[in-house]
Amino acid sequence: MSTRIGTVFGQELRQARRNLWVILATAVLGLFALALALFGAGQGSGLKVDVLTLTAVSLATLSVYLIPLIALLMSYDSISGEVERGSLALTFATPVRRWEVFVGKFLAQTVAVCVAILIAFGTVGCVIALLSETGQDGIFTWLRLMLTAGGLGAIFVGIGLMVSALTCRTARAAAAAVGVWLLLVVLYDVALLGAIMAAGEGIFATHVFPWLVIANPADAFRLYNLAMIDAAPVAGIDGLAQTLPFPPVAALAALGIWLVATIAIGSARTRRIVP
């Protein structure tokens, strides 16, 4: 079992490297992190917060857009493309289990995303820590950001693969991936903001709204990171970070549920594909 997952994993990771996905993702994430660090360095002296923490706050917000996009782009074609090319039929004709194929692909692409995050954010974090005065809190904040960013990447790799297995056609998978990104990353927040404006103060604002926010993996990721930073300058939905009715770790639990659900649904769907 483990050797078969390992075989799928190795092949998939090799492709992520050859397709320059890792390098591209690293470059994009690194450049954005660096730009935000420079911006934070300009502000830092006035706000009495160290630069690393300040950069972590803005990077948490930006990562919500970038990391799901990178993860979805890496994964959406992984199963549908192989169905169309006919190579999945060959794979499924071997004694490999369907779920092993799904999990192998998931692990490889998650590793690819995480390596990009590790290199990009790690390098920029070290540069900031060396060039500015940084306390222990700042370093922990940064590490927490890197870790949860990896988790966010994993969830969206899972969503991308699930979409790929559900559609089985590259064109439809691409459309679905774009739709998922728009829905979870952009439209969901707009809809929630509209709802809270309309509802005003009341049961909805205090008891329903926070749960709706962490039901979305992108928001849960951002909320967790911001809630863990005392001095975070926040606005909009993120203002919730300072008045949460539940401990921030609930957001992590929400991320965990998403991860398990996408892998479970994706694996189950892969079992029913007729290649």
């Binding site: 050797t3 075989t7 092949q11 492709q15 050859r18 090319r85 190579s87 060959l90 071997t94």
Partner: protein
């Protein structure tokens, strides 16, 4: 039984339409069976059923005695689909190592397989740079991993030039000599003549014939055509005497059953003065194939 593949009374429908109807066939170890049929005759569907991708409505399929899709069945069967394109940025060796890993066979076998299909030199080049023939040979090498007990090859030589095709069948013959049962599909009898041991013809989901080429020719009982060129002005007289079909002013085609050939020729000999030439055309492979694949209302769907 010792059959590697045993299919009995297999039926399969898609959306109320029967794609396979009462198909029974078997392949012994070391035997090569060609499955012929038009596009849409059900060949690929039959393969997918043997692989366990599709569930039959009725009938049974046994691969080395096991249900399709079960572990021992998947270990026993190797497959080359009609259309496959491997990842362009992987090398031939990496592609084979991948499938070798999924089958749990020793990696050392990979170089040997690449040599058997003549790809050893190109083994470390990207598949994207391979020619069509090379990619097809890589697909065949993939299908030979782990010395399969049953080889399923779906139109393995379509689009190959005659030389590549010949080499391809040599590799298949070699695999059969090592004990693999081979089931391969094709479009025409010419292609599989002398390359396979038995032939089965599938038309509109039904098996219309099965046997060696000689058996099929005998069973078809197609007439031999005798083509006569008459001397000027004599064609009408010959047509009156022998019947047959007038082709033009001086030519006449006569259909003649196998047994009646000598008798007819002897009768023709008596009209030597009216004849300029005689051609004898025994039924060709195309005629035999068309005879068996032309069942039901549709004709010549190519």
């Amino acid at each position: 039984m010792t059959e590697t593949l045993a299919i009995k009374a297999l039926c399969l429908s898609f959306g109320g339409q029967k794609v396979l109807d009462d198909v029974s066939l078997s392949v012994q170890p070391g035997e090569r069976l060609a499955l012929l049929g038009h596009n849409g005759a059900g060949k690929s569907t039959l393969f997918k059923t043997v692989l366990g991708f599709l569930r039959p409505c009725s009938g049974t399929v046994a691969v080395a005695g096991h249900a399709p899709g079960s572990d021992p069945a998947r270990e026993a069967v190797n497959y080359l689909p009609e259309v496959v394109s491997f990842q362009r940025n992987l090398s031939g060796r990496e592609v084979l190592s991948y499938f070798s890993g999924l089958r749990g066979t020793p990696k050392a076998e990979v170089s040997d397989l690449l040599a058997r299909v003549g790809l050893l030199e190109a083994a470390d080049r990207a598949v994207g740079a391979y020619s069509k023939g090379m990619r097809q040979r890589l697909g065949l090498a993939q299908a030979l991993i782990g010395t399969p007990r049953l080889l399923l090859l779906d139109e393995p030589t379509s689009g190959l030039d005659p030389v590549s095709r010949h080499e391809f069948y040599e590799v298949i013959a070699d695999a059969a000599a090592r004990g693999s049962a081979v089931l391969l599909s094709s479009h025409g009898l010419e292609e599989v003549q002398d390359k396979t041991d038995r032939i089965a013809i599938l038309a509109r989901g039904r098996l219309t014939a099965e046997g060696t080429l000689a058996e099929l020719a005998h069973k078809a009982g197609l007439p031999t055509t005798i083509r006569i060129s008459a001397r000027p002005g004599a064609a009408d007289a010959l047509h009156g005497e022998f019947g047959g079909r007038r082709i033009n002013g001086c030519r006449l085609d006569l259909d003649c059953a196998q047994g009646a050939k000598v008798d007819l020729l002897a009768r023709l000999g008596r009209h030597q003065d009216k004849l300029r030439d005689i051609d004898i055309a025994p039924p060709g492979l195309t005629d035999i194939y068309r005879h068996f694949s032309r069942t039901g209302p549709t004709e010549d769907q190519t």
